[in-house]
Symmetry: C2
Subunit: 342 residues, 2 copies
């Protein structure tokens, strides 16, 4: 299994987030991706490659052009106000329905295009997000060309970004962009999201589609971010009805219950006839993750990889969350080791 | 003209807000109401009275019971997490539509019940908001009993609060609660919102009703808060169609253009046959207001009061915004002096 990685991710740094009523520096930090790369190299699973530039087109197959344009120019517009600190939304269109009119002012646009105050924009955010998506696309290319598995060491992560809004540290939805690109060869693609948080962005993108099956194991949205989606009764809509499967789990969940839910997710993925699978690989399910409440241990990640082997289809791993920086590399790579070596 | 005021407003203090990408102490500060009371006393327009307790019932005539319950217990639930600093929403249901399920976690509830990150909750927020509404209700009572005019020195302000969400320093919509209570005697009530910002909460509350006419002069939402409502083509819906009139104005607006728009608002209020009028009295249109971009001068507030005299119906003034603390009292009371003395 080869991995795709680029130093461009480091351009997204120095951002803050509003959490617990305080503005703090981002839990989603550059060291995370570096640790995954280092652990991947140490495990000698394959080569670490630089992504090719696949351009904007496959990104625009998933994301709204207005939103992508906003991401490209947001920092410049923010700086034009005299600001040097991170741009952060503060006014949302919550409860008023999707607004009809995009405001001219960058402060209004930040709210228009975001879901929460966890997504600051700094000078290098677009560069990092663009190349994070390119890592996913290059790994996808390997799968399309016949590789059995591949890893995209994406940063910033992607699964909270909808077609037209950033949220939860995510700007471009790398997993969704990859799944869409895989459709060029595979009639049905599955996305198995094992991140601690519900993949609300990915769900929204494929909500009404029957060609991409989305399943997610995550913290019960009653108790944790993103709060407003991820309930078990959310199953898709229109032609997509039944092509979304949510498995919310309570705080304190340990490996046995978590793995039982994974089996449900894998059963459904097999049943739907998915010919290729994207794994949204968050490891914030870890017992010492600073913002999460599940209780998986280091050894459990090997077992997760072993369980994923029974999906005998090409598998693309896309790095998502995981904020215990000392263990994030080892835990993410343990999944891959379990998958490759059993 | 008598005024209603209570020291309870001081319980709402020490709150912060997210503005311009930074978490700062609130522009909406206790001194604001004190300055209005002092200026009112100095002008010798009438007595300053303490509000009676009209209870929750008239508040619930306008606001959702779940939301009111949340406001009552939010600080306690937030404290239970070990927090002593202000509670602030950070995750909204932006763009996903109104969520079906109220999260159990207070962080989720803060987002569920708010529109932006300008509405922190501290220990005394409910006490202050409750008594702010009681000031409006006591002043309303005076009008219902025959007074020609009355002032409610409300703090926190109200016009950004919808039936079920706080926003823009506002928790309970004092003007809407007063207008609703005035309906007990007056078949048609007008609300003239002269605050710098669009009264999005008030608009939303009466959006589909033909018995309360809402008109607002404010900063073009393209350029300023609340960004997602207040465009000229928003005119109400269903039976309320034509019973909302928005007059957005550009940054830098001075008295001549502002007063011309006021004439339009007053013409429409007369045309609709309003038998009593609530004035949402914000004075953040002032040239030195720290967060606003209109250019009214101190003398202009006298003229605003004079212009309002031509509505020969009972008039209730409800204090809203105004953040130039040195002048906020004089400017607000100048409107009343102009109204009372011509």
């Amino acid at each position: 299994m080869d991995a795709w990685f680029t130093e461009h991710h480091q351009a997204h740094h120095g951002h803050g987030e509003l959490i617990g009523g305080r503005l703090v520096s981002g839990f989603e930090s550059p060291v995370r991706a570096e640790r995954v790369r280092a652990a991947f190299e140490a495990a000698a699973l394959g080569a670490v490659r630089s992504p090719a530039d696949h351009g904007l087109s496959p990104i625009l197959d998933v994301h709204d052009a207005g939103y992508v344009g906003f991401l490209q120019r947001a920092w410049r517009d923010w700086q034009a106000l005299g600001h040097q600190h991170p741009a952060l939304g503060m006014i949302w269109h919550a409860g008023l329905g999707r607004p009809r009119v995009l405001p001219r002012h960058i402060e209004g646009q930040l709210g228009f295009y975001s879901l929460d105050a966890g997504c600051a924009i700094v000078a290098g955010t677009w560069e990092a997000a663009y190349w994070s998506a390119q890592c996913a696309l290059s790994a996808t290319q390997a799968i399309l060309q016949g590789a059995g598995s591949a890893l995209a060491i994406c940063r910033p992560p992607g699964h909270h970004a909808t077609a037209d809004a950033m949220g939860g540290y995510c700007y471009l939805n790398n997993a969704a962009i990859a799944a869409q690109a895989l459709r060029a060869r595979f009639a049905r693609v599955g996305i198995v999201d094992v991140d601690y948080h519900h993949g609300n962005g990915t769900q929204a993108i494929f909500w009404r589609r029957d060609d991409v099956f989305f399943t997610s194991l995550h913290a019960d949205p009653h108790d944790d971010y993103p709060y407003f989606s991820g309930h078990a009764d959310e199953r898709g809509d229109g032609p997509g009805t039944g092509h979304t499967l949510n498995l919310p789990l309570p705080a304190g969940t340990q490996a046995p219950a978590w793995l039982a839910a994974l089996e449900q997710a894998l059963d459904a993925t097999v049943q739907r006839g998915c010919e290729a699978v994207v794994v949204s690989l968050g490891v914030d399910t870890f017992e010492r993750d600073p913002i999460s409440k599940f209780k998986l241990t280091g050894d459990d990640y090997l077992e997760i990889g072993r369980r994923l082997r029974r999906l005998v289809v090409p598998m693309l791993f896309v790095f998502e969350g995981g904020y215990a920086t000392d263990e994030v590399g080892a835990n993410a790579v343990s999944v891959l080791v379990g998958y490759e070596r059993g």
